[in-house]
């Protein structure tokens, strides 16, 4: 299986802080790769490096065989790589329909307004925003805005979707709903790179997981393997001996 996305030896420094350091991994066609790590591990920065918001100091990003390192975000989007943000960015005064139409018309396919709107209505249906299409985006609830963020990215018909903590701040019902949607996305052949703190969700969704700590690659493998890796446990909790002690008492 050829890699859809290949990230090779990415590094990025902000002032004195080395946010990402010599990071490499790949995402295959149609797979869901989870990206986890303690807070401050550099996960969102990785997304920013992939979609062109920041230029890496060194390393390369290769998408569908093409080198897109440092390419402007709008070009990356045109190639079929869409992304959501941790802090949602609705186009507040525009309607939900218009928000998604932007995604549809300026995404991978160069659609007209009419064609874009057709795509939007379809996507809105199974993301669950169909009844809110005419509302101004700024008036949605947090869950609604998260769904909008996702829907908008989906409307651009990406091959790879970068999801940045799309479950944060949702209650259990909303979380379940969102997980269903993400699984559905995968069945349509869209690969997903997902950052998440809700462990249960990311463990069940991902086929593989990459663990980051302090900007560096820490571990990689199936969810089960990663969950039992002492290095990972230590990174999250501190000291494996402590954990062992806690388990025995």
């Amino acid at each position: 299986m050829s890699a859809l996305l290949e990230v090779a030896h990415l590094s990025k420094r902000f002032g004195g802080l080395e946010a990402v350091s010599d990071l490499s991994f790949t995402v295959g066609e149609g797979e869901i790769l989870g990206l986890i790590g303690p807070n401050g591990a550099g996960k969102s920065t990785v997304f920013n490096l992939i979609n062109g918001v920041h230029r890496p100091d060194s390393g390369r990003v290769i998408f569908q065989g093409a080198d897109i390192t440092g390419e402007a975000p709008y070009r990356v989007a045109r190639r079929g790589l869409a992304r959501t943000h941790q802090i949602v960015q609705p186009l507040a005064e525009l309607s939900v329909l218009d928000n998604c139409t932007v995604g549809a018309c300026f995404g991978r396919e160069n659609l007209s307004l009419a064609q874009g709107r057709t795509v939007v209505r379809e996507v809105a249906e199974w993301v669950g925003l169909a009844d809110r299409l005419d509302d101004p985006a700024g008036q949605l609830t947090t869950a609604g805005k998260k769904r909008l963020e996702l829907a908008r990215a989906l409307c651009s018909r990406p091959r790879l979707l970068l999801l940045d903590e799309v479950l944060a701040g949702l209650n259990p019902t909303e979380t379940e709903r969102m997980i269903e949607v993400i699984q559905k996305i995968r069945t349509r052949g869209v690969a997903i790179l997902i950052i998440e703190h809700v462990m249960r969700a990311i463990m069940s969704l991902s086929g593989r997981i990459v663990v980051l700590n302090l900007g560096r690659w820490l571990a990689e493998g199936s969810p089960a393997a990663v969950a039992n890796d002492p290095k990972v446990i230590e990174a999250y909790l501190g000291d494996p001996k402590l954990l062992a002690a806690a388990e025995h008492s």
């Binding site: 918001v53 960015q89 186009l91």
Partner: protein, 320 residues
């Protein structure tokens, strides 16, 4: 867009506007309607930047002045017919704007705003020192320039009609853009430029394109207007105060709407006319405009159209 009623409303209103002075045979009315139309042209095109894309072009008057200069130069020195000359002015200024735009549109917010003032002042300075364009004295049109139009009196009526046509064109352009994919991209940029880029909107190109587009009709209008006046010189051609008043008009009427800038321009002109007879100092014009702008920005940022939409939400679909 001709399947919808709104564009036809614009055309109808423009026809009434054009024919009103004819049927009342009122030259005074024609003159004040002409001035209002000029302001509507300036405000509507400025709205493309401020209302759609969220970039404040403080120096928007430069398009008007430069277009005027190109037109008068072509008419005076090369005896071009005025319509061609004005049109050429429009094209030249748009092309220049595209070039400049690609550079200064990399700047955000206040820096872009200041850069546009700088562009206006720089061009004004260059023109003042440019001898082929009359330097500081400017260009004076000889009376026989009006010959092809049937003499000066007839020319006044013809230029009036041309300006009204340009006014209608400005409103129709605003409407066409707003309902196009290009317009949606602009609105996205206006809401959140970074998010728009991540969604695939080609922000640098679109910004340059709208800057250039917003230059065209004011430049053509400048050509016709200064042709009618018979004279153009740097201070009045690149008058920053007019530029600023255009901004107030857009905000007053409602940025981002189609009717807003037109309403705002009209109302502001009426207000100004009233003030000039009431107050002795014209300097207070700037003070009043400033207070008005401050009040609008603080309390009614959506302008008049914003107020209308809040009172009657259905109007959003009918009156754009």
């Amino acid at each position: 867009m001709w399947y919808r009623p709104f564009p036809w409303l614009i055309v109808g209103a423009a026809l009434v506007y054009a024919l009103l002075p004819y049927f009342t045979d009122n030259i005074g009315l024609r003159e004040s309607l002409l001035l209002a139309a000029i302001y509507i042209i300036l405000a509507s095109n400025l709205n493309l930047m401020i209302g759609y894309t969220g970039y404040v072009n403080f120096g928007n008057i430069v398009f008007f002045g430069l277009g005027g200069y190109v037109c008068l130069y072509l008419v005076n020195d090369f005896h071009w017919p005025v319509v061609f000359a004005a049109f050429a002015g429009g094209l030249a200024v748009s092309a220049l704007a595209l070039l400049f735009g690609l550079g200064i549109l990399r700047l955000r917010g206040a820096f872009f705003a200041l850069a546009t003032i700088g562009v206006n002042q720089a061009i004004a300075q260059l023109v003042t020192n440019f001898e082929p364009w009359g330097g500081a004295t400017g260009i004076y049109l000889s009376l026989d320039a009006y010959g092809p139009l049937g003499g000066p009196l007839q020319a006044l009526w013809i230029t009036y009609l041309l300006i009204v046509a340009l006014m209608a064109a400005s409103l129709l352009l605003s409407y066409a853009i707003k309902n196009s994919k290009f317009g949606l991209g602009l609105l996205a940029i206006g809401q959140n430029e970074d998010a728009a880029a991540v969604l695939g909107v080609p922000t640098p190109l679109y910004k340059a394109m709208v800057y250039s587009t917003s230059a065209f009709l004011p430049a053509v209008a400048g050509g016709i207007y200064f042709f009618k006046s018979g004279i153009i010189e740097p201070t009045s051609a690149f008058n920053l105060q007019t530029s600023i008043e255009a901004i107030v008009m857009v905000m007053l009427g409602g940025a981002g709407t189609i009717l807003g800038p037109a309403l705002g321009a009209f109302l502001y002109e009426e207000l100004r006319g009233f003030l000039l007879t009431a107050a002795t100092f014209s300097q207070f014009q700037l003070v009043i405009a400033g207070v008005l702008l401050l009040l609008i920005v603080q309390f009614v940022p959506g302008g008049l159209m914003g107020l209308i939409y809040r009172r009657a939400p259905r109007m959003r679909k009918i009156l754009e």
